[in-house]
Symmetry: C2
Subunit: 520 residues, 2 copies
């Protein structure tokens, strides 16, 4: 299990097939293999040694893709920095990992210069853009053209593939250590469970490439011999334009991106008939959004993938046949699906013991994809990775068919009148009202209930609904104590994390000033 | 990567689903998991310790399937004996592996008693049948009923999963050591490449379960959460009866089995409409046979899988889209397909160096599925497994799209007038004549040519064709020097090996009496 193996395989089985399409650039697998071997040579000429860390801070492109394979080809370890983080967070991650080289594109060249000025570990900065090379940086194409291709260093199996920083929104980032086996087994399991094995498929990199979700889909597509199309960053019109122009078949989005595309109505005006698969992840899709998306994309198979960086990232999959609102397969739509093929999944109580089916507890996962640990953080590793099991921090329960119902991050659970209320369930109920475009449900301080269920709602353009309308429609779906006590309407988009998750902490903050909340 | 993991996963995700159907017995995944844990407990009570070997000699059944999982669950190593081998060969394998327990069914109970009387390592013999327990044997169901279920011993990854004896027809059997990682990665790659991930699929065990081909398909189906149907042994009518009765969807056969089914016309008289997938392997299917099979089974997807026990067994796959006789995908039908997703495959000269594309050499394969070596045979291991590459002993070349054309076992190559003639190519050409049912092409001694191309032909019932008819039709397909110089018609079936391969050595023998052949 070597990350670089499928590149050689595709160069052998489909040398003249289009490997990457990025803006006006296209290349075949034979060319891609050659460029990866040259970039690896260039890195070695910069004194990158076996196990050295090489970071990147860039928007999506074919060069980002080349980086992902050239780094292990050279014998090194990848460190993809978060494009939504502050300079301080990325500087921390870069120095914590001890990265000696940083690649940056036009968008991040200035940030890279700032980081370089302050970093303790950085020795070289490579400019991946198309303009003039900024001062103090080396030019990607110049380096590559000057380098001879080198033989693959042979990294694989338990060798470290990359350090993936996570948790930047809730304290100092932690570097998740992922081996080749971790990532390879996660990806091949994803390739199976997400039916990636289709000749002539084209995967669109619309979600950010630094994130494990895109990386895993990307590698699943690569193992399956598929082509790759890149847009610099998610933007609804750019997504449908790329689909139409390049006959994209496979796409990964987070639910908030799907919402934005529906809001802007781009599916209706573009030719997206080539699209066969929409994978969504990071959080469950509210039922109303899913219903609208399925109506806008008839013939597209929907898959939900639930994962976590610590699991490289495969945990579970909800397959297309469960994306139905009626019939024997219905009722699983609010779940995160069933354990991926390589996964052992259980629900544990606070002592780590497995709880009975139907009981809420912590999602605990084991498999060949379970991380090696946190970089230089043995204590946090020991808290999270116990006897091969990753304690995800997510709360959930398993139903009688082994479907995992995620009932929120523990800290997003609302305790109202002594009852546990899971905001995801309430959000799903609120979106069944046809006028609702998007909703976030949080707990706010209440003298009567401790916390009261509160919904922040964005309506669809031109639609109207009163607070009472929405509460009434909600009551038809869930128990009364779970229904929002109050609703706030707003027009501006919700704050989201780099991974596209709602930043509930930010939404809660104004309500909790002057109060204590157990977790925030 | 633990062989037992998907059993727990299926017991979690589909506890009430039918796991196995064997004769009149059926059980769910919840029941199967329980019985496996009990059988593991029974083995431990027989003093089976971690790493001990447990052998089996039996026809196909649900109990064979339970054995495959209970042995690693107990911490032990499986040793499936070859049902077509002599007592001497199996006794050798059993003692060579040092197996302490042997399981045998009704069909092999007497053989097991013979083996037990002579074995140096055997301590217990378990009778898996339904009659009275033979003398000196323990009863499978009695042991199981008396045993408490035990926790999984946790064997996985690089732990030895099984010792698989091979090569019995050409000298002393060698025990191929396969780890959990070897087998798991081979199977998940097969599951992907063979599109195994279909809800509600049912795999029919018609090929013998001792063989790695069935074991790999079986585990691919198990990872994918599919059900299993068993018939004791391949028999054309039994196969179609099982398909019709149990709505079988997936089937593995070797080409000679497909020939037999066509010959008996069983596809035409039975309801095989549930069948979706036919995987064939062990050898390429002659074009004429394939054409007839595809005509007899419209709507069924054909896959060719090429492998070897030493690779657990995945090497390459020819996918359904290449099973066509016309159009841009045609022309690959005589190949063994392209490298499986986890595989690095190259063609090497006698020094082990990679030869140019299109050049014939030895097929050399690397991947996480490459065996650990031969049991207790360091010298033979060193000859076959060199720096992670398995030297398969098969001759072949890669075309410009990375399709592997197997041009025969080196010893089956015919050298005629200084030209290399690959018998598989000639066989494929001969079967294009509509009257030909089956053919074997061999080299026979010739004063003029050194070796002459000779075909042994079985015609379809009621069909007629002369020697010249067949040679003429052959000449339309391949070059003149490759066409048979002589044809012998015969009615009785060809001799085959335990794996369903033609025993060409036996066919050549009468012609070579009194002559020397370099390899035989």
């Amino acid at each position: 299990m070597h990350l670089t193996q499928p590149i050689r395989r595709s160069a052998q089985t489909a040398p003249q097939m289009t490997a990457t399409i990025s803006g006006s650039r296209q290349q075949t697998f034979a060319q891609l293999e050659q460029r990866i071997a040259q970039l690896a040579g260039a890195l070695q000429q910069l004194q990158v040694q076996t196990g050295d860390r090489v970071a990147i801070l860039a928007l999506n492109s074919d060069r980002y893709f080349e980086y992902q394979f050239a780094v292990p080809w050279a014998g090194a370890v990848m460190v993809p920095l978060n494009i939504r983080w502050s300079v301080a967070e990325n500087l921390y991650s870069l120095d914590d990992s001890g990265s000696s080289v940083l690649l940056a594109d036009d968008y991040f060249a200035a940030t890279a210069q700032q980081i370089m000025a302050q970093s303790n570990s950085l020795k070289h900065c490579i400019y991946m853009g198309d303009g003039d090379t900024p001062e103090g940086m080396l030019h990607y194409e110049t380096l590559l053209a000057a380098a001879a291709p080198v033989a693959d260093a042979g990294r694989g199996y338990d060798d470290l593939l990359g350090i993936f920083y996570t948790g930047g929104t809730t304290g100092f980032p932690k570097g998740v250590m992922i081996s080749h086996t971790n990532f390879y087994t996660s990806s091949i399991s994803a390739a199976c469970g997400l039916d990636f094995n289709t000749q002539g498929s084209r995967y669109l990199h619309a979600a950010p490439m630094f994130h494990m979700a895109d990386l895993a889909m990307s590698f699943a597509a690569t193992i399956s011999g598929n082509s790759h199309v890149f847009i610099p960053a998610f933007q609804p019109q750019a997504v449908v334009d790329a689909i139409a122009e390049h006959q994209v078949t496979d796409l990964l989005l987070v639910p908030t991106m799907v919402s934005m595309m529906l809001e802007q109505g781009v599916f209706a005006t573009a030719d997206v008939s080539s699209l066969r698969k929409l994978i969504y992840g990071a959080s469950p899709m509210p039922q109303g959004t899913l219903r609208d998306a399925m109506a806008a994309l008839p013939g597209v198979a929907f898959y939900q993938a639930y994962g976590q960086t610590e699991l490289a990232p495969m945990i579970s999959i909800l397959r297309p046949e469960y994306h139905v609102f009626e019939g024997p397969m219905a009722g699983k739509l609010c779940s995160a699906g069933q354990a991926g093929s390589i996964i052992e999944l259980r629900i544990a109580d606070e002592q780590g013991n497995t709880v009975p089916q139907g009981t809420v507890g912590q999602v605990v996962v084991s498999g060949p994809n379970a991380m090696q640990g946190y970089w230089n953080r043995p204590e946090q590793t020991a808290e999270t990775l116990i006897e091969g099991w990753v304690y995800t921090g997510d709360a959930g329960y398993l139903d009688e068919d082994g479907f995992l119902f995620l009932v929120d991050w523990v800290k997003d659970m609302i305790i109202s009148g002594g009852e546990n209320v899971f905001s995801a369930e309430v959000e799903s109920a609120v979106t069944t009202h046809p006028a609702v475009h998007e909703v976030a449900v949080i707990g706010i301080p209440s003298k009567e209930w401790g916390e009261a269920v509160h919904a922040i709602v964005r309506l669809k353009p031109g639609e109207e609904a009163s607070e009472q309308d929405i509460i009434d429609s909600c009551r038809e779906v869930v128990a009364g104590y779970k229904c929002p006590r109050s609703i706030e309407f707003r027009e501006q988009p919700f704050p989201i994390t780099g991974a596209g998750k709602l930043r509930k902490m930010d939404l809660r903050k104004p309500y909790w000033d002057g109060y204590d909340r157990a977790v925030n």
